[in-house]
Assembly symmetry: C2
Homo-oligomer: 141 residues x 2
């Protein structure tokens, strides 16, 4: 991999959303650790061949979510692990079910069998066991 993240210009998902997802994924999977520094806004823009404004927007958004912390003249750093809304109850179960079905359909559409997918999930899950860090709550609405 050339750089930490990889974006696809032909993915219908907007670049800012792709980058946001990629950064979160890197943190969740441990490729980016706590307090670790991210590339500068301008550098990452060059690496990914996208505009610096787009990178800045993503960093700002992730900072608003409490995941990153930026300091002028210094850089941007991983502050905490991404935390979800963590709704409880039926809705929560339904959300997981929907998300999973979406994923399985996507995989099936690309020609992967259920067995392959399951195996891959098991492998990746085993890699990071349990780390569902407790609920951090921010006030946002």
């Amino acid at each position: 991999m050339a750089s930490l993240f990889a974006l696809d210009a032909h993915d219908p998902l907007p670049l800012y959303a792709q980058l946001e997802r990629a950064i979160k994924a890197a943190i969740v999977t441990g490729r980016l650790g706590l307090e670790q520094q991210l590339p500068t806004v301008r550098q990452l823009a060059v690496d990914l061949k996208i505009n610096a404004n787009t990178v800045a927007r993503v960093y700002a958004e992730l900072e608003a979510q409490g995941i990153l912390a930026s300091r002028r003249g210094v850089g941007t750093f991983v502050k905490t692990l991404p935390a979800g809304a963590s709704s409880t109850g039926v809705k929560r179960a339904q959300q997981l079910s929907d998300l999973t079905e979406q994923f399985l359909a996507e995989a099936a559409g690309r020609g992967f069998t259920s067995e392959e997918v399951l195996l891959q999930v098991q492998r990746l899950c085993a890699g990071r066991k349990e780390k569902p860090h407790g609920r951090r709550e921010k006030k946002e609405s």
Copy 2:
């Protein structure tokens, strides 16, 4: 579920891409069977509260992919099952790995633990075993 598909206006993924994904998912999971008719362009637009042009674009795109077949004055029908590229080798493995990581990150970002996710995947995979399809739902006629 009010209708066959569910779109989220706040999802950064464009509506047309969401709908395309939803239709493919419905076919892959067997909620839509071969030769089954889809809602009309105008009806689905009303159901999903989106523009008819957007629906028409998606139907046309899926027809171009050979998944759907449309006939004027009649309707739009499922023609074949979505087929993946089924590339082999390293790239294929890498693709599955990337896709899975993305999914796990998404799930983790929404507050689901690895255990929960793994369990859900196991459940859904068990539900449709080998065949990605084969199971037609009985419907009232």
